[in-house]
């Protein structure tokens, strides 16, 4: 394997695949790294396998998923080199990438790095969320896509956003209907979102909204039990999830369940962009940090570009367009095209990206996460790895802790195996609120290598 490339793309979801196609089709030597065994990212996960199982399996997951097969097929013949099963554990701003594959690590270099590392589900810290039997809606969907597994026990979907509705539909299509859908969205949020409607009247945005409304209506017609305006969720159980209690208004409910799938939207996966040292900004509308990029995907670090949900949530179609736009800019950086040619080639995708994103302010407002999960009560575990509660964090702030990085010294918060991936967003919010500060003023964890577990032996065997 060559160690020197024109471009290294990290992540083979829609953004990474689309970007790699443009790069390779224009003659660049491009390497695509992804942790999964096959291309697709989370959105099109295992789409080749599912397609090979037949039309029924593909239909179960819906038309949007099936559409991913075309992009994967094009990527496969694009001429880019795809190295699956590759775990990137360090990226240096000099555009050096350390990657582990099959138990061996290598250091690779490139003139341009395109990060298309996608999104993660926003952490949903509610009482009991660490119990076995509590997972994310995305996790349930991953089992369905990648292993054809469906829940075999009474389960509920709890949360808001487009994904849990889709997961509900997919589970029903696979013969595993949820016992109930606990919608944490409220009519107040829906009303507040109306002011963003004028911006969402373009054809693409209207199509997205129509799809969502049709899905919602179909689930209601299908008789799925739905609660609206759910709050104060608590998952009960000793060594596993046994029941879920929640409130609707003042009314208290309790249901026996063995599986709870939570979801409160998605946020950019920050680990790699943070580790490289890219500047990040707080996105007020999407309530998350994201790397700062220009119109072409350039981050604040020379030669490092970011595309797709990793740079701010826009969905799969927007990610593919953003991946192509960033790839045209990468070709300019590589000296293969000039700025005028880049502008001409990228024009269609820039328009498509804008159209796809037009609906976002409305969705962001409608599915805005509620305060109780952004800034949970004292007894709720925030850092799952080190088992640090929100109360302990607030106490540390009272003792003088000034931010997330000091919280590590106070509490080991964010220093467990997940390295702050899951607690970081909550830690920043809790500390910011306790200090009466804005979240961007409070800041975020510094992310240090290795970003994924790698044995000492593997590091020792690195060729230097």
């Amino acid at each position: 394997m060559s160690t020197r490339w024109d471009a290294i793309v990290i992540g083979a979801g829609p953004g990474g695949m689309a970007g790699a196609c443009v790069l390779a089709e224009n003659g660049a030597r491009v390497l695509v790294l992804d942790e999964q065994p096959a291309p697709g990212g989370q959105i099109y996960r295992a789409v080749e396998n599912v397609a090979a199982q037949g039309a029924d399996a593909l239909a179960r997951l819906g038309a949007d998923y099936a559409a991913g097969a075309d992009l994967v097929a094009r990527f496969r013949v694009s001429g880019s080199t795809f190295q699956p099963g590759s775990t990137v554990w360090q990226v240096a701003p000099e555009r050096a990438v350390w990657v582990s594959c099959g138990g061996r690590s290598a250091c690779l270099e490139a003139d341009v790095i395109l990060l298309a590392t996608g999104a993660m589900e926003r952490p949903v810290p509610v009482p009991g969320w660490t119990l076995p039997g509590v997972m994310t809606a995305g996790a349930v969907q991953i089992l369905l896509k990648s292993a054809a597994l469906v829940p075999s026990v009474p389960f509920v979907l709890a949360g808001s956003g487009p994904l849990p509705l889709l997961v509900a539909q997919q589970c029903i299509a696979a013969g595993a209907a949820p016992a109930a859908f606990l919608d944490t969205g409220s009519w107040q949020d829906a009303v507040a979102a109306v002011r963003y409607l004028p911006g969402a009247l373009g054809e693409t945005a209207r199509r997205t909204l129509a799809k969502g409304l049709a899905l919602h209506a179909a689930l209601r017609r299908g008789g799925m039990k739905m609660f609206r305006g759910v709050h104060d969720i608590r998952i009960e159980g000793d060594d596993r999830a046994e029941a879920i209690s929640f409130r609707v208004g003042r009314r208290q409910h309790r249901m026996p369940v063995a599986l709870v799938a939570l979801h409160e939207g998605v946020i950019p996966a920050q680990q790699i962009t943070r580790a490289i040292g890219c500047a990040h900004a707080w996105d007020v509308g999407q309530r998350c940090f994201r790397p700062q990029i220009d119109d072409w995907g350039n981050s604040s670090v020379e030669g490092v570009l970011v595309a797709g949900d990793a740079a701010g949530i826009g969905g799969a179609a927007a990610a593919a367009s953003a991946g192509r736009v960033a790839a045209f800019e990468a070709l300019r950086r590589l000296g293969r095209i000039d700025a005028a040619r880049r502008d001409a080639l990228a024009a269609t995708d820039r328009r498509a990206m804008k159209a796809e994103r037009a609906v976002r302010p409305l969705l962001d407002r409608m599915f805005t996460p509620r305060r109780e999960i952004l800034c949970p009560a004292d007894d709720v575990v925030v850092c799952r790895c080190e088992e640090v509660t929100a109360g302990a964090l607030r106490q540390a702030v009272a003792q003088g802790c000034q931010g997330p990085n000091q919280a590590k010294s106070f509490l080991r918060c964010g220093m467990g195996p997940c390295q702050g991936r899951l607690c970081g967003p909550v830690v920043a919010e809790v500390i910011a609120t306790a200090r009466g500060q804005a979240v961007d003023a409070t800041g975020y964890f510094r992310i240090r290598p290795p970003m994924k577990p790698v044995t000492l032996g593997e590091i020792a065997e690195l060729e230097t």
Binding site: P37, M120, A139, C418, P453
Partner: protein, 96 residues
């Protein structure tokens, strides 16, 4: 907690805590364990409480297990293989 939509094609056999578990080529260790009804993957170093997969996409690290003698493996990221020996991860790791 989960059932398979397709029962055939379980051609791999691996070992979990001394038990033989059947699995399908191409799935992850985490998916194979969940399909086999394994609901607890590890015990935390801090309180010893049980954990199982939360995100299944490499973010949460709650599916950590020991695979073929190597600790801290993310069960959701490792493809299952014939003859693999998988154990629950209990408490803190030593430095070896």
């Amino acid at each position: 907690m989960f059932r398979r939509l397709e029962e055939d094609g379980l051609l791999l056999i691996f070992n979990f805590e001394g038990e033989r578990v059947a699995a399908r080529l191409g799935e992850t260790v985490a998916a194979a364990l969940l399909a086999a009804g394994i609901g607890r993957f590890r015990e935390t170093p801090v309180s010893g409480s049980s954990r199982a997969p939360y995100c299944l996409m490499g973010v949460c690290f709650d599916c950590l297990v020991e695979i073929d003698g190597i600790a801290n493996r993310q069960a959701c990221m490792v493809p299952v293989a014939d003859g693999m020996r998988v154990r629950r991860q209990r408490g803190a790791r030593g430095v070896t």
